[in-house]
């Protein structure tokens, strides 16, 4: 790429750099940079409230646990389109894959802040594999799935760069990559829940069950579908001019279809959650403080959006569906935080409970901002919401 082309992409002479968006991003980046320096010169204690009772905090609970669940739109959308023959949702695949790719990339990036010796992150796979650990499975699957997502996303980047040959080779792998992606997602989405199966004495009995792995996997499906709806409605608002006719034509059908799908899966999820309580005979715990909190999660953030999705897709009420998707996304975040932080060490007195440090919150916002900026850059320059004119009808 020539220098002028680079300049054209990054610095538009026709537009001022001092937009409110750029200023906000600049401030967050600056704070993030300072926090990064503090983390890598002062250790974890300089920017986190982690302690010996709470070795995992916001970065694992939100950035990793919730982040991975919300990035599930990648495998759900591509599986629906390529494996289950729902071709009419084709135009949603690229935005979903991009969101997933950026999501996973940021998960791995924020892990570098959280682990003590990030340069050893390849150790479990290449140097000293501890195969009895569920974290080994999570690590292996996330590493492989990030590669798969990168390849799936790369066709868009290669079209943008004009590298036709390479693009066509990777494009031929679509089916294999999709199948591979679903296997890897099944495994690591569920293992993230299974991580806590080793700690029955620490996690509150309402959240601790042998079914944790199943719960995490099933909830990742409607998390993914909801995130595609949620992200799509935001994109509609801000990137409408980038969308081609096919995308716009297919979008409404996609929202209705995904809302219906999410509603069904959530209904099933509620059933298996109740089965979980029945299996362990934990009914009496529902009357306690944690029990009420459990019901808030299950009724307020699963049953309610499940109902709203059902009504919304029946009445073709798009604003209702959008609201339901937002509640579902928040509900997934709440569930992952409950398992990893809030209901974890539930017996500890309040003074010993973990409350995130401002530095942890700051770096989490930093990560999200990087994701938004990267997303914005990619959708403004690469064929995500539209088909590249050179590759029309290749699908």
């Amino acid at each position: 790429m020539s220098e002028t082309a680079v300049k054209k992409i990054f610095f538009r002479p026709d537009r001022s750099l001092l937009t409110p968006f750029n200023i906000t991003v600049g401030i967050i980046m600056f704070i993030g940079l300072i926090l990064t320096i503090m983390r890598f010169t002062g250790g974890l204690s300089a920017v986190t409230n982690l302690d010996d009772n709470y070795p995992w905090g916001l970065w694992i609970g939100f950035d990793l646990m919730a982040g991975v669940a919300l990035a599930a739109g990648g495998y759900t959308t591509s599986a629906a389109c390529y494996l289950f023959g729902m071709k009419r949702y084709h135009s949603a695949v690229r935005p979903a894959i991009l969101t997933a790719f950026l999501g996973y990339a940021l998960v791995v990036f924020s892990l570098h802040y959280d682990v003590g010796r990030p340069w050893r992150l390849p150790y479990p796979i290449f140097y000293s594999p501890g195969t009895t650990s569920l974290l080994f499975e999570v690590g292996l699957c996330v590493a492989l799935y990030l590669t798969v997502l990168f390849l799936e996303y790369s066709t868009a980047a290669l079209e943008w760069l004009g590298l036709k040959k390479l693009r066509n080779i990777i494009y031929k792998l679509t089916l294999v990559l999709t199948i591979f992606g679903v296997i890897l997602s099944t495994l690591h989405q569920s293992s993230l829940g299974a991580l806590f199966i080793i700690a029955p004495s620490k996690l509150h009995p309402l959240w601790y069950t042998q079914y944790l792995a199943v719960y995490f996997f099933i909830s990742s499906m409607f998390a993914g579908l909801s995130m595609v709806i949620f992200e799509g409605s935001l994109s509609h608002k801000y990137f409408h001019d980038k969308m081609d006719e096919t995308y716009l034509k297919e979008h409404d059908g996609l929202v209705l279809g995904f809302a219906k799908g999410a509603s069904f899966i959530m209904a099933g999820y509620i059933v298996i959650k109740i089965i979980g309580i029945a299996m362990d005979n934990n009914w009496h715990l529902l009357g306690t403080g944690f029990g009420i909190w459990f019901l808030v999660e299950l009724l307020g953030f699963v049953a309610l959006p499940c109902f709203l999705y059902a009504v919304g897709s029946r009445d073709k009420n798009f604003s209702l569906i959008k609201k339901a998707s937002l509640i579902t996304v928040l509900g997934i975040v709440l569930n992952r935080l409950n398992v990893s932080l809030i209901a974890f060490n539930w017996y500890l007195p309040l003074k010993d409970k973990y409350i995130p440090h401002l530095g942890e919150i700051g770096l989490t916002i930093f990560m999200i901002t990087i994701g938004i900026v990267a997303f914005k850059f990619i959708v403004t320059h690469m064929p995500i919401f539209y088909e590249h004119p050179d590759y029309k009808d290749s699908h």
């Binding site: 002062g42 010996d52 995992w56 682990v115 010796r117 501890g130 195969t131 679903v182 569920s190 991580l195």
Partner: protein, 355 residues
């Protein structure tokens, strides 16, 4: 760059199989691992402990740990409940005695050195190892610092050096493994002035503990804490009050930690084996549906075309027939007309002749 499918499946299979056949965990079988033969341990008789903190002092010296803020002679430290941290491998806590309110109970806390350690089964780089001597040891040279061991430990023992930048370690009691190899006693056991700590073969310690309970049934609770908890630990406790009252959880169960996760791990090779088949099947079905739909569509079109054609031919034939009939009729009409004209002409000629 991507890893080949075969290699991936091998890894996945390995993850599951190692739980089935590994030496560490006897999961997925009904065998119970009772620990290495002749494994060593320590018996802590809490009814004898006087809370002098000599063990803490000895541990600090033996392991070259930094000096604490208050000296080990200072017993006011006991008023607060403490836990192990990165600078302390062991602590003694004071608890109210429900039996004799005047005599508080003291209990020493350190790594219990499980027979099947949760930390070892949770570690994704094998940094923890149960030695045949009984100690669970940690290898900092492979540790990534993920702290999953701390999440996994049911006794809340491993601590972490949160303030270290380049070489943070997980820290816990080593049962003085290096000293054991030299034939010495663990530092704390050696230092205990009242023999509240007894070092020996775990089997022998269990016998001693049972004997004490038999001899003094009114002094001890009939329970050797650590005999079965989480599958058994190398450290064993005798108590005069319920273990729960002196901060030891009684709801841990007797399942060794590796058995808890073996089910989830056993599913891995199944998913890796079956999903490709199911998904390719789903793809084939949807492809076949598309193909059938396309064929049906083509058939319907050709049928429609054929129907239209026959209809058109029939119409044409009818039209032709009609045209032919009309033509014939016209000819007959013309012939008739011509005949009539001829007849009329002949009549006229006859008239002329008559005239």
């Amino acid at each position: 760059m991507s890893v080949s499918r075969r290699k991936f499946l091998a890894w996945m299979g390995g993850a599951g199989l190692s739980t089935a056949f590994g030496t560490k965990a006897y999961a997925a079988s009904n065998k119970q691992f009772k620990g290495y033969p002749d494994t060593m341990g320590v018996l802590h008789d809490t009814t004898l402990c006087v809370g002098c903190r000599s063990c803490e002092d000895a541990c600090n010296k033996v392991n070259n740990l930094p000096q604490p803020e208050k000296p080990f002679k200072e017993l006011s430290v006991l008023d607060k409940t403490r836990r192990t941290d990165s600078k302390t491998f062991t602590v003694v806590n004071k608890y109210d005695n429900s039996k004799e309110p005047k005599n508080p109970v003291f209990r020493k806390i350190q790594c219990n050195h499980c027979l099947e350690p949760a930390c070892a089964s949770a570690c994704f780089v094998n940094a923890f190892k149960k030695t045949k001597e009984g100690a669970v040891v940690y290898d900092a040279s492979v540790c990534v610092g993920c702290r999953y061991c701390m999440v996994a430990c049911p006794f809340n023992i491993p601590a972490y050096e949160y303030d270290k930048v380049l070489d943070p370690k997980v820290v816990k009691c080593t049962m003085c493994h290096p000293r054991l190899l030299e034939g010495k006693l663990p530092g704390c056991v050696e230092a205990c002035p009242v023999e509240a700590l007894t070092f020996g073969k775990r089997e022998d310690l269990l016998k001693i503990a049972r004997e004490r309970i038999r001899k003094y049934p009114e002094k001890y609770v009939n329970h050797i804490y650590g005999e079965n908890e989480m599958g058994g630990t190398s450290w064993l406790y005798l108590t005069g009050v319920a273990p729960e009252e002196i901060g030891m959880r009684e709801d841990l169960g007797i399942t060794p930690a590796p058995n808890l996760t073996s089910g989830a791990l056993a599913v891995v090779p199944m998913v890796a084996g079956l999903w490709p088949v199911f998904l390719t099947g789903a793809y084939a079905i949807s492809k076949r549906k598309e193909k059938i739909a396309a064929e049906e569509q083509a058939e319907a079109v050709s049928k429609a075309v054929a129907e239209t054609n026959t209809a058109a031919e029939e119409k044409l034939a009818k039209a032709l027939e009609k045209a032919a009939k009309e033509k014939e009729a016209a000819i007959q009409k013309e012939v008739k007309k011509a005949l009539e004209e001829a007849a009329a002409k002949a009549q006229e000629e006859d008239k002329e002749e008559d005239a």
